[in-house]
């Protein structure tokens, strides 16, 4: 099966700044793929290359099986794109925008359009310039979902939105998830965690890791060990132990390759038999904090 998005060693340089340093990604079809990372990590640059808004310095990207540098015109018909900083035709009303865009898409679904208007509570006769930021984003999303796109690309769609609007947008996306692949960039990890199936972490233009969210959640554990007496920490701990800290008889770390049996054996080998062991599942936010602080590439 063709990937929805595939990139190979994508490099983008803006004069002296290396925005992307060899990004290789594979977004499976029907995935809800989240590209996360701090501001300036290169997320928007990557998306703009995928949408052929800007050109890569080198490397290759394919979107729905087409070289991204060729994506224009009719090849955009199965793609929905919404960005936080997109310049919309502010002089148009919501209804005029939808009326205008309808003829561009052979697959435009008028019933779905009406449903989205209702779901997002959009005022058809209000000009975009008079809408709040959240409403504008909802209008943009409605105009990008009404034609059943095979791929929905969202660049920081939740930035600056209140929780209610975020929930509405996410619900709108979840409703479409069955028929579309969704590629979304964000630094709002809590929101991503609620609906993403895959996650990739980009930092300073480099991909730190990319995998399914369930797999990520399964392999990361916050480990707390209690010993009878303060243990002697070895000079070199296993590579998969992040942020190892000790306080009296308690040792804490993050295990990024958790496997119940293997992790227990590793602990015994490194520190001896603990009196008590706790393996706690971690939130996406905790995982990224642990990785960011440890500064390791864990792909």
């Amino acid at each position: 099966m063709t990937s929805a998005i595939q990139t190979d060693t994508l490099i983008k340089k803006f004069r002296r700044v290396d925005a992307l340093q060899g990004l290789t990604l594979n977004v499976p079809q029907s995935a809800v793929y989240a590209l996360v990372g701090p501001n300036g990590a290169g997320k928007t640059t990557a998306i703009k290359i995928l949408m052929n808004i800007i050109r890569a310095t080198s490397g290759r990207a394919e979107v729905l099986g087409v070289d991204s540098s060729h994506i224009r015109g009719r090849l955009l018909e199965p793609i929905g794109y919404v960005s936080e900083n997109q310049e919309m035709p502010e002089w148009m009303t919501v209804g005029a925008l939808l009326d205008y865009l309808r003829p561009f898409y052979p697959a435009w679904d008028a019933a779905l359009e009406a449903e989205l208007i209702k779901q997002f509570d959009l005022p058809r006769d209000r000009k975009l310039r008079h809408l709040s930021r959240g409403m504008r984003m909802k209008a943009a999303l409605a105009s990008s979902l009404a034609y059943h796109p095979k791929l929905i690309v969202l660049d920081e769609p939740f930035t600056g939105l209140d929780p209610l609007v975020r929930d509405e947008l996410i619900q709108g996306l979840i409703d479409r998830a069955e028929e579309s692949s969704i590629f979304v960039s964000s630094h709002d990890l809590a929101e991503i965690e609620t609906f993403a199936s895959h996650v990739a972490y980009l930092e300073e233009g480099k991909l730190r890791f990319a995998e399914e969210l369930t797999s990520l959640a399964n392999r990361f554990r916050e480990v707390e060990l209690t010993f009878d007496a303060p243990p002697i920490l070895p000079e070199k701990t296993p590579e998969n132990w992040l942020q190892v800290s000790a306080s009296a008889a308690v040792v804490r770390f993050t295990d990024c390759r958790f496997d119940a049996e293997r992790s227990a054996a590793e602990i015994r080998t490194a520190l001896g038999e603990p009196r008590n062991v706790t393996f706690s599942p971690m939130s996406l936010r905790s995982i990224f904090l642990a990785m960011a602080k440890s500064g390791r590439n864990l792909a």
């Binding site: 808004i53 015109g73 794109y81 997109q86 919309m88 561009f104 943009a140």
Partner: protein, 522 residues
């Protein structure tokens, strides 16, 4: 086609205020143009309001109409801006060819079509049947597209908004001012050459290339470099063109006999010493005796180069100077005028100088000579237009001309045969003295402009400067004219060499130049 109509409707809905303003200006133009035909004498009326209405307002509207078109084109092109990476439309399935077609359709619908309708209306109001002039009207439309709409659209595709567009226009204006300022520093650069044609071709080609490149690929940086490259190329062409060779090629020496003999008339010096130098320059006039020009010929001096060398070897070259001097068979004297800087004159005036004159000319034969008596009232003048004799301020014929002056017309009249009443200061003209004028035809199918109706005043000039009061009553109803159509025979140059001249004798005002009395030549 679906997209074309969709985008066109969107643009029309969005830009209706600009469209309305542009159409209103066209209506105002039509009203003022027609008013100008019918109230031609208003310019002599006194009072600021009349001046405003008759002079300032038409000029303002003339300028505002193309400005409104430019603005409209910029607005619709920048409606789907091709500059930047945040515009929503670039991620929508626009077909670039249909987008270009939609913009072109908009220009045709809201600029070209109204202009076409206006032109037809003006032709009808001026008394001409528009069906006879459709080719010329279409030519005018094409010229507007090539000369204004395409360059404007090209600039709009590489700018994001109106301020950026104004900046681009300002930079281009600075370039043009710089080029114009550079021109006098390049010897003979004002001589006729193919540069203007090539420049126009390059300009239009670059504009088309930029528009296609921007719409198909959005290569803004590359497109901007193209404009810089064009400016560089135009400058290089201006600097590197071998103008002297071009003049020699365009105006070769005649193979056989010269069509006209020219000789320097010795100056009769009566030095008054009172003529002031103006603007730091000293006006010099070489009087030339003219002979040998056949009766049916007309010689049009297009330009000249004067070179002066004094005994010390000091050399001064005028460079190409455009001229518009016509010589006819009965003309016995011609004056070659030029200015010298004071410091050059001072170095040249005391010692004998050698003068070399290169005179570039076009020779015409006057074909189809015929007689024509000016009717009273409005009359149709074949190949000219609808004319009326005007006697209020200057005895002449005023014509409304459709599209262009169709053919060149050489007009001669014996001044004694004029039917115009003599004013108190005139003395009756002597028989056998002729006055002439040439109305030069346009080579293009139409003059570029908003209106297809042009106004031409036909009057007669008596070139005998010694007797100007007496011999030029003008054209009035009943005045017999002799008409002919000058037909170009060829272009040549004459090179004249005069030695041992005292330049001070030829300074205007310091010498009374001998003039000759013309004899009847027809």
């Amino acid at each position: 086609m679906n997209q074309v109509w969709n985008i066109f409707r969107k643009d029309a809905r969005h830009h209706w205020p600009e469209i309305a303003a542009s159409l209103a200006l066209l209506v105002a133009f039509a009203w003022l143009d027609i008013r100008d035909w019918s109230h031609r004498d208003s310019f002599v009326a006194t009072g600021f309001s009349i001046l405003l209405a008759s002079r300032f307002l038409p000029g303002l509207v003339d300028a505002l109409v193309p400005i409104s078109w430019t603005f409209l084109i910029v607005r619709i092109v920048q409606g789907e801006s091709l500059v930047g990476d945040r515009q929503f439309w670039v991620t929508r399935p626009y077909d670039w060819k249909q987008l270009v077609a939609a913009k072109a359709l908009f220009v045709l619908a809201f600029i070209n079509l109204p202009l076409f309708i206006l032109d037809i209306f003006l032709l009808i109001r001026a008394g001409f049947h528009p069906a006879h002039y459709l080719g010329g009207l279409l030519w005018m439309q094409v010229m507007w597209i090539l000369c204004l709409f395409l360059p404007t659209a090209a600039l709009a595709t590489i700018t994001k908004n109106i301020p950026q567009m104004l900046l681009a226009v300002l930079l281009l204006a600075i370039f043009m001012i710089g080029t114009t300022a550079l021109s006098p520093l390049i010897p003979n650069s004002s001589a006729p050459s193919d540069i203007a044609g090539w420049s126009g071709f390059l300009l239009i080609g670059t504009a088309v290339a930029i528009i296609l490149l921007q719409y198909s690929r959005r290569r803004t940086a590359f497109s901007r470099w193209l404009i810089l490259g064009l400016c560089g190329l135009l400058t290089l062409m201006e600097v590197a063109t071998p103008y002297r060779s071009v003049i020699a090629r365009e105006y070769p020496l005649p193979n056989g006999n010269l069509p006209v003999q020219l000789a320097l008339v010795p100056a009769v010096t009566h030095d008054t010493g009172s003529f002031p130098a103006y603007d730091g320059s000293i006006p010099i006039r070489f009087p030339l005796s003219v002979s040998g020009l056949p009766n049916d010929s007309l010689l049009q001096l297009n330009g000249m180069i004067v070179t002066l060398t004094n005994a010390d070897g000091f050399r001064w070259d005028s460079g190409w100077r455009g001229q518009a001097l016509s010589l006819v068979a009965d003309e016995k004297t011609a004056h070659i005028n030029f200015d010298l800087q004071q410091k050059v004159f001072d170095r040249m005036k005391s010692a004998p100088v050698t003068a070399h004159l290169l005179l570039a000319f076009t020779l015409y034969h006057n074909r189809d000579q015929r007689e024509f008596t000016v009717p009273s009232g409005e009359f149709a003048w074949p190949d000219v237009g609808l004319c009326v004799s005007e006697m209020q301020y200057w005895n002449r014929v005023h014509c409304r001309v459709p599209l262009r002056r169709a053919t060149s017309l050489f007009i001669t009249s014996e001044t004694a045969a004029s039917t115009c009443p003599l004013t108190g200061r005139n003395i009756p003209p002597s028989p056998g003295v002729f006055a002439h004028n040439t109305v030069w035809g346009d080579s293009e199918p139409a003059e570029i402009g908003i209106s297809p109706v042009h106004e031409v005043d036909i009057y007669l000039t008596n070139w005998d400067t010694s007797d100007s009061n007496a011999t030029n009553p003008g054209i009035c109803p009943g005045t017999p004219l002799i008409l002919s159509n000058p037909e170009s025979v060829g272009r040549n140059r004459i090179e004249l060499h005069f030695e041992n001249l005292s330049l001070a004798d030829y300074r205007v005002g310091s010498a009374i130049i001998r003039t000759t009395v013309r004899s009847a030549g027809h």
